[in-house]
Symmetry: C2
Subunit: 344 residues, 2 copies
DNA sequence: ATGTCGTGCCCAATCGTTTTGGCAAGTGAG
DNA sequence: CTCACTTGCCAAAACGATTGGGCACGACAT
């Protein structure tokens, strides 16, 4: 079991000092190296398959080229994988690796785990939430550049990346308006979170923009699951005149809406158009007809968060400088559940 | 911005040498320390909030307390989060952190990323697949303890953790038999992967065990999505006599089965019992009635894989020794889609 | 011959730990 | 008083990289 080969091995093989090897491999400015020597060293390094020891380098440079990914539950929610993926790929582009860590929402555990991260000398931390919400940044993280992911802070000095809920709501409703709908119901969520308020606001803006008066009977709030969607749809579809389209706070609600529509003998999209939110492929593709929806930009959020972190660590000032609370648009994903309203 | 405090700071504050502090904090055997000194050092360490520098320690110990988690696409598939979670939590129990990395199935990228991991001196690698399959272990990983996760190798020397597909199939069909079903259809997958063969084998064993002759017309293979399930169900439910229960290779297929049943005027579970596989909560809870299914033990697989890795690194021999190809059972998750068959 | 300068390389210190092999002081026996 | 032994601690050498400050040598001018 041969020891991993180190810089000294290369130096010895090439007949120079470790210093010189380091200068060459790192292309240090202001150091004069004979072209021939450089060539020789580069070649021996390649032949020997030399790769620097990250720990040693990190120790010396006080940088680990590693960023911590702390999340409450993210690893367990379905679409969250794309956040991780986005972050990981963007990080990889810059030679960074992600140290994953799930707190399960337990503050005690969170404290311990963050300490573990800091011990590992992470260059920065992504503090991610499983759904868009407002959080406090743990005290421990003050000492290291931190970006909030799918979460934001009340302190405007803390950088964050979240979806633009308002614009997302607008996008959904505009799509319905575009197809000619004027009586549009909205099944909202009941929780007091940014998405609830934001999407409602977007719904209203899109209606206003189209010159449609809001009918309060067309907005209901329900628990965000299929049963909630079912109940809400039954209620909404009793209103007179009956709405020709429903905007669901979440795709899961739409599952219930489909069932309600089937029971009422309404065909989607001929009699009723439905649009969701989240773009959970399992649901959207599983329903028939396919559910048109608005996607949360998970991948992009992950990527942007890493980019922000990089900007932060680049700047000397941790915090006030280039920190920004970024909002990403939620794109429409058209499938087959939206059509023109039925002729009366 | 005060420098992080190191072991020397503690030593100075406590009036002893760094050596002594190290001995005390690491509870080194065979070193005699005065009880009073020990107390004093422990206290100053706590007061100062000392935490060892992981990089320095790793460099010295040649262990990074970090394990690499390499996956093809895992971060993007829905239930995969639980694999990560299981691995992460088990790792955390032993003070290990997970370095995440997604190859996207690109071998070139995979090679580069694995090199990155090795540079970081990971203590071991979890090589995970997004679905149970047979893989080759990349050459690069030969130099470090590796465990396959939701994948296995043809080389029996390579340890791995996978779900027990056969037993899972048996579990599903037994549950139907237990409720009195004797005509049980199976909608299988079309791909040539272990799950396809395993679950079919399980189906057969359960039938045999119950003394039911297999009717080839009751087994069909379809693409694993709602549309496939729909088509397959229409076909199966035409057989005479009509099956009273369907076992679906995947929950997604069940979505289509529900639709087909509704169209045929069959009520679930009164007229038709349905059982799925995967336990994708989004689907199982979203369907009405809730889908009884067999769960893939994602969390446990992640945890077991870490445990195996630990066993490997403990043993001196990388490979042949305690390496095992482990199969985990898939537990039944009962909801509301299975009942006794209708009286004829 | 002496001084000056550029070129090409290397020495040694450093990062923060762990660990080996001590050493000084105390204790008890002879 | 000397010797042997224990107790409690510490100095210094790793680990593998980076880097500031050289040093030796040859070329060229004076």
């Amino acid at each position: 079991m041969g020891r991993r080969i180190g810089i000294k091995d290369v130096a010895a093989a090439a007949g120079v000092s470790a210093t010189t090897v380091s200068h060459i491999l790192n292309e240090v400015e202001g150091k004069r190296i004979n072209a021939e020597t450089r060539q020789r060293v580069l070649e021996t390094a390649r032949e020997l398959g030399y790769a620097p020891n990250g720990l040693a380098r990190g120790l010396r440079l006080k940088r680990s080229n590693t960023i911590g990914f702390v999340s409450d539950q993210i690893a367990t929610t379905p679409h969250a994988g794309r956040i991780i993926l986005g972050a990981q790929e963007e990080a990889a582009k810059h030679g960074l690796l992600l140290l994953m860590l799930n707190t399960g929402g337990d503050p005690e555990l969170e404290r311990k785990e963050i300490d573990l991260l800091l011990q590992r000398q992470v260059d920065g931390v992504l503090y991610a939430s499983m759904y868009h919400r407002v959080v406090e940044v743990p005290e421990r993280l003050r000492s290291v550049p931190t970006v909030l992911l799918d979460a934001r802070s009340d302190d405007p000095g803390v950088p964050s990346v979240v979806p633009d809920e308002v614009l997302g709501g607008e996008t959904a409703v505009r799509e319905l308006v575009r197809h000619g709908h004027r009586r549009i119901g909205f099944i909202n969520n009941v929780d007091d979170i940014p998405a609830t308020h934001g999407r409602l606001e977007g719904y209203r803006r899109a209606l206003a923009e189209a010159g449609i008066a809001e009918d309060p009977r067309l907005v209901v709030a329900e628990t965000t699951d299929a049963v909630g969607g079912y109940r809400a749809a039954l209620r909404l579809l009793q209103a007179e005149p009956r709405p020709t389209a429903l905007f669901c706070f979440a795709d899961r609600l739409a599952m219930g809406v489909y069932r309600a529509a089937a029971e009422l003998g309404l065909s989607i999209p001929a009699d009723l158009s439905v649009i969701g939110f989240d773009n959970q492929e399992l649901i959207c593709d599983g329903l028939f007809p396919g559910l048109t929806t608005v996607a949360l930009p998970h991948y992009e959020m992950g990527a942007r968060a890493v980019a922000q972190l990089l900007a932060l660590t680049g700047a000397q000032d941790h915090g006030t400088g280039s920190a920004s609370q970024e909002m990403l648009p939620c794109p429409l994903v058209a499938r087959a559940s939206v059509a023109s309203p039925p002729r009366l």
